[in-house]
Symmetry: C2
């Protein structure tokens, strides 16, 4: 393998600059992992050996390993060095898919809703009303905060269903939370506050996007009550990105004591809480816990999306921003895209008519039913699995027995027509083994068969692991 | 004024870090200019005086002045120090507009098409066809390069009308060229190639976006034949961002010799040409000159947009990428937005049916007529003005007589119901005085009155300047 890595580097033009050498090594490794030349689980040479072999500073290799570990390309196993990561990040995965690998029939990808249920008729009707009545200015570059009608409708909707304290001036619309988070990260870096705590385990895409814009990402442990604020206190970050209503991926809700402690931390340090309320509409056992933002609107950036309630193909997400960061984020957004203004207006129309509420109610019932079915079948057929988390959202994370490698299990999924996603890349350091099972993506019709295939496969995998 | 600047800084919390102090001063000045506390043309204290007054290093003040000059907030007048810039950048302008300043009736903003002519019926019909027939996957997260049908349709369209050598794999769709440019800039910075030449005068938004993602921007002089490749040779940049078909703002076309020299430069230095073909569909006196990309597809990133041919409110732009940067740009785009997939499919549908071609033909005739009318009236009523550039696009830049301050002229525009845009912020150093007149934004009905108001106003301004 060492010679593979060395060969890869030799393909590259030599760079006289350390930054260039680092980038070259990083890109070569990333490319080799992405296209399969370096296989999952393969062990990399030690930093010392590789540095000597390539004639570069050991620190360069260390930085590259750290970066790629953070991105999920590599994993650091205590006592056994660095290995090629369990799954490449979702972005790279998607890139791989575009290279004509067929997608397995039963897809447990987390975070993607049942797109077959998209309300096409209502959406087209909303667009027709918009196109019949909107002034020409709606087709122009428009307000860099987004379409006024949508900002007004969202203020109302978020206040009503999530307890968010918003007014139209505090809302900025983006073409998704990813874009929003990248621009917010840029603003924090420019203000000299470029260290952000994230949850560990957490969303790989949070870490990827923040790192990409120059943020130093500081992973903080999550337990059954959410992010450990004690651990957060020990850092010197200026912001913390959290998922309080339904922690991703573990599915726990942040306890009231933790919420209070988090807000106290932000007040005491004049820090920012970034609350990603990605699936806040979907709680099944009780009223959703309100957004943290409602308790401390001056210290919280609230992020939400139409990707779960409606569909990701309609690219709309939003931030609710405290006054002191509003202008900087708006200027960052100006000239760099933003959601289609016709679709923003259509979403405002659907919100105003109650069409989105109706759609969400229908989806909530369907997803609740799916979750119940999935958990019942898992308890029945794979009783070994633990399932932490509350009755909410569009995914459950199941804990695999000790010694069962989630990456290996996921890799075998396609043989049973299953797309499965290991927990491993959600950890920044080694954590327990699990699968993040998104139960929203299969169609209604396919879902029972998907659960059957899944439970049969898992029972099989665990029994072979036990022998 | 010095005390105003000092007062501004005193409002801020002191920062123990130099980067924090710099950011604080920069933000305070930017905010004060944006909201009018510091007026256009006001002279700033010298860097030495301000540094002493604030108790910061002079280098800090120099950096802040340079940054804000680059962004257009400040201008450096040879021999007369630093003054508040002619017009704040468009992003900030838009932000100001959101604060309820009414927009003048006759708006000569460059770059925004006549949105009243948007083909609403055809667009709705395309969306209806898409919603009736598209698979559910179109509503999902989808391919990070954009919708396949659109990439295929664009390859064909761009080859046909612009001579671009594209295939569907080389096209990546974004929610606008601004977003695309930001992500391309990130990729260049990450690869250790973060110095990019831009045209001087050039698009302020190019410079703003590149700087924002950490690119070092190197302005290169433009003459009647386009960017000076001789000046480019003297730099050590890894990429050059140009507008060869219709230089913005001067309106000249890059000569064949310059195009050849530019390509030779890129080949010799293994550098990247970034070709922003923002209004390539609109040439009035002859066939448009083909894209440079067609001559050297391995060395050119081609950028195009639906914002001019269709409307900016439909957020769609694209890059055609050489193989060696494709993957990195695609991964940068993944998870950070991208255009609505429904609208991408609708645009593909319009392209496939020839509806976009038909719309562009109609707009081309209309804009050509507008340009002819504008130039005839200007020649008639304000014969002093020089108008460089070819018969193309949606704007003309007029040169004001020496000694006439374009910023002052533009500032008086609203008194005659005119929104006017000075050339000043397009220069990185002091250049000649002019106005960038976008002739596409007024409605067909308003246009003759807009030209009358403009020519009357300019004749008036120039005669009072002459006395």
């Amino acid at each position: 393998l060492q010679s593979t890595v060395t060969d890869l580097l030799l393909e590259l033009r030599p760079s006289p600059h350390r930054a260039g050498r680092r980038a070259a090594l990083e890109n070569a490794l990333r490319g080799a992992i992405r296209d399969g030349r370096l296989r999952e689980g393969a062990r990399l040479p030690s930093t010392r050996a590789l540095a000597a072999d390539l004639g570069v500073a050991r620190a360069t290799v260390v930085e590259v390993y750290e970066q790629l570990t953070a991105e999920g390309y590599l994993r650091s196993r205590r006592g056994s060095g660095t290995v090629v990561g369990g799954s490449v990040p979702a972005a790279a995965r998607a890139l791989g898919e575009t290279r004509d690998r067929p997608r397995p029939r039963f897809d447990f990808i987390p975070g993607e809703p049942d797109c077959a249920s998209f309300p096409r008729r209502e959406w087209l009707a909303a667009l027709r009303r918009v196109l019949l009545t909107a002034p020409a200015d709606l087709l122009g570059y428009g307000d860099p905060r987004g379409v006024g009608e949508l900002r007004a409708a969202l203020s109302d909707y978020l206040g009503r269903i999530r307890g968010v304290a918003a007014d139209p001036r505090s809302v900025v619309v983006f073409d998704g939370v990813g874009a929003a988070l990248g621009m917010l990260g840029e603003v924090l870096v420019a203000a000299g506050r470029g260290s952000v705590a994230v949850e560990d385990p957490g969303m790989p895409f949070h870490r990827e996007i923040l790192r990409r814009v120059g943020v130093r990402v500081v992973p903080i442990r999550v337990d059954d009550h959410g992010l450990s604020v004690d651990d957060l206190e020990a850092t010197h970050v200026g912001a913390a990105l959290v998922t309080p209503a339904h922690q991703y991926p573990l599915g726990v809700t942040m306890s009231p004591e933790r919420r209070a402690a988090l807000i106290a931390w932000a007040r005491r340090n004049d820090a920012l809480i970034i609350e990603d309320d990605y699936d806040g509409e979907f709680r099944y056992d009780r009223q959703p816990v309100g957004a943290v933002q409602g308790l401390a609107p001056d210290h919280v950036v609230y992020a939400g999306t139409a990707s779960k309630a409606l569909a990701p193909g309609v690219r709309v997400g939003w931030l609710v921003l405290p006054p002191h960061v509003r202008d900087a984020v708006t200027v960052a957004r100006a000239w760099r895209g933003g959601a289609s203004q016709l679709e923003q207006a259509a979403l405002a129309d659907m919100l105003g008519r109650g069409d989105l509420d109706r759609h969400v109610r229908g989806r909530r019932a369907a997803y609740r039913h799916r979750r119940d079915l999935l958990l019942a079948r898992l308890a029945d057929r794979v009783p070994l699995l633990e399932v932490p988390g509350v009755a909410a959202g569009m995914h459950v994370t199941v804990r695999l027995p000790d010694g069962v490698d989630d990456v290996a299990v996921a890799r075998h999924g396609p043989s049973a027509s299953l797309a499965l996603f290991p927990l491993a890349p959600h950890w920044s350091v080694d954590g327990w083994s699990g699968l993040v099972l998104g139960f929203s993506r299969p169609t209604e019709r396919d879902f029972p068969a998907a659960v059957d295939a899944l439970t049969r496969f898992l029972a099989d995998q665990l029994s072979s692991a036990a022998t």
